[in-house]
Symmetry: D3
Subunit: 135 residues, 6 copies
Amino acid sequence: MATVKMMTDREAEGIPAVKTVFDDIRATRKSDFINNFWRALAHDPAQLSRIWTQVKTIMGTPGALDPLTRELIYIAVSTANGCSYCIHSHTAAARAKGMTDAQHRELVSIIGLAGQTNHLVTALQVPVDPEFDVR
Amino acid sequence: MATVKMMTDREAEGIPAVKTVFDDIRATRKSDFINNFWRALAHDPAQLSRIWTQVKTIMGTPGALDPLTRELIYIAVSTANGCSYCIHSHTAAARAKGMTDAQHRELVSIIGLAGQTNHLVTALQVPVDPEFDVR
Amino acid sequence: MATVKMMTDREAEGIPAVKTVFDDIRATRKSDFINNFWRALAHDPAQLSRIWTQVKTIMGTPGALDPLTRELIYIAVSTANGCSYCIHSHTAAARAKGMTDAQHRELVSIIGLAGQTNHLVTALQVPVDPEFDVR
Amino acid sequence: MATVKMMTDREAEGIPAVKTVFDDIRATRKSDFINNFWRALAHDPAQLSRIWTQVKTIMGTPGALDPLTRELIYIAVSTANGCSYCIHSHTAAARAKGMTDAQHRELVSIIGLAGQTNHLVTALQVPVDPEFDVR
Amino acid sequence: MATVKMMTDREAEGIPAVKTVFDDIRATRKSDFINNFWRALAHDPAQLSRIWTQVKTIMGTPGALDPLTRELIYIAVSTANGCSYCIHSHTAAARAKGMTDAQHRELVSIIGLAGQTNHLVTALQVPVDPEFDVR
Amino acid sequence: MATVKMMTDREAEGIPAVKTVFDDIRATRKSDFINNFWRALAHDPAQLSRIWTQVKTIMGTPGALDPLTRELIYIAVSTANGCSYCIHSHTAAARAKGMTDAQHRELVSIIGLAGQTNHLVTALQVPVDPEFDVR
């Protein structure tokens, strides 16, 4: 149950600004599947375009981090934020980009450990060591 | 300003269970520096030992993810949880393990993007696509 | 699946302190519908009354912000806190108070943007400018 | 203490992509003041430009919500996310856009109330009423 | 650095609604000390009164949980929410109500463990067992 | 819908490291029921063992806090973190350890109140009183 309706392909066909993005998602991912995130965003074509452009640039442009590492970081943030949909979609994306079960296990362990030490640090209000300052 | 006092080396010398962990941190990291997190935990020697053992195992055992990737995941969780100390300490740790400025920039971009899409998904309450189910 | 049972109208009839609040909710909202939040709270009649009084005062008293703006702020907080029920109930309330689709789209964009810049600021640990101090 | 250095005007002068954005911030806001958020982002000129373009579009384009309401929403999200810098900068921005003390008081009350009911709903795991579904 | 000014005793003297609450805080706590939380709230006397009444009722009325347990729960929520001020004030309150160092150590351990398992459950999206349902 | 499959008893039988933990959970809890959290963790036997050992130690070792108080703290953290599964499992555990309806009502009230004051403090950015410092 969502707060907006998921846009169907039929509706998307009638809105050029949406159709353009949907077509680019399909072409970029070489798959006909458009997941619900984009169908929910589609009711705001300008926003749909802004978000897709960012995702394509930040997650897709070759750079200093490989595509799988980027997905692992995405899962980590989404877990700490408790975004169920995002955890599902990016865990699926990570698997599609080659994440092994062993990598998933390590990712989950690190997320859990960080969750624990984050809470310990906060409960104890540990002051930042001056050694960590960027010179 | 913390909710416990940071344990000094002098105090740690007098508590064998703490001294053992502090010595192991120094030996493992090949550095004399013990950061405040461990000094705050030291008032509970059993907990200090439990946490250090986990950190050493989860962050230090060779496995499917390299040491730098593990730090990037740690920073991602700590940022989403708003743990200032943890962000500082793990950003410093990542730099010590070779994180370049370009990698830091990409990490920060991905964290920001995930923050945005997490919020959009939650505001729109997007339902999980059945395609994301683990078989 | 809840951690308490939703109180039925029949049960509420038998508890004067609950009946009084349910009656006031119906009279205030000019509707027979009592949503699950109040039915869950009803097991603690004192708390039910405390929360309803606050909601009526803070959301209903004419003041410096109009009723719709108050709902938009409520949705914003609920989204950042990941409270699915609250997002649904206050998005419905906002629509009932006249929120247009265009206003909803802008609200969602701002929530997403704030989510992104909140994460960027936290990852970079940007220090507060002295210019922002209240004189 | 930040995880990157704040870029000075002198440094910004030497990087055309940064200078362009800083100049546009100054022109748009009709003020010489560039706050630390932009100085921290400036180490990634592409990201600086992306974020500024979004802020300018989402916060500045005339639309269905007035500029002050947009700032109130921003403060609400930033508070729930615990982003201290963001609360300071957007509270200052809201005041600059005319937020009165009475409006600030009501905003703060609503944020507090939403914080309370969000926690109550979550502790009780209240199920979403079918009446809230978008038809 | 706050977004409002802390109200001084001198200013409070001039506003009867504030003076009444400040006097009651002092009488209830048998202490002359008024901490900053109340001085920040005092700019909204109605809200100040509402919050103080709730705190006095929920934290101070004899009931099913003893006063120290109530403070431990408060610290737990405040830590998970990352509210630095609240952690400091309620850790001080718990100590004033008799919290021993051993109790503080156990509290902190449980908070850390819950932080870890909360993150693990979320990353793995563990489905709720039907056995947990309230019959 | 989870991101891993729940391990069945049949599968667990074939993995000695998992069987050992499952047997110990059953013996410790004097119940044949193994909830989904452990079945999800079981795909990483080392992690399963690490987490179970911690839970057994931190939640089960007699100490300065009684078993029910520990569960209340766990529920408080899990609520603030929005971990639905954890709220359900620990509310059930608290009931099994004797939590009365009156205790549950007070717990929920305190969690709600803390949620509210945490948000107020954060919105107002209240500075920590020097009186709260640990001497």
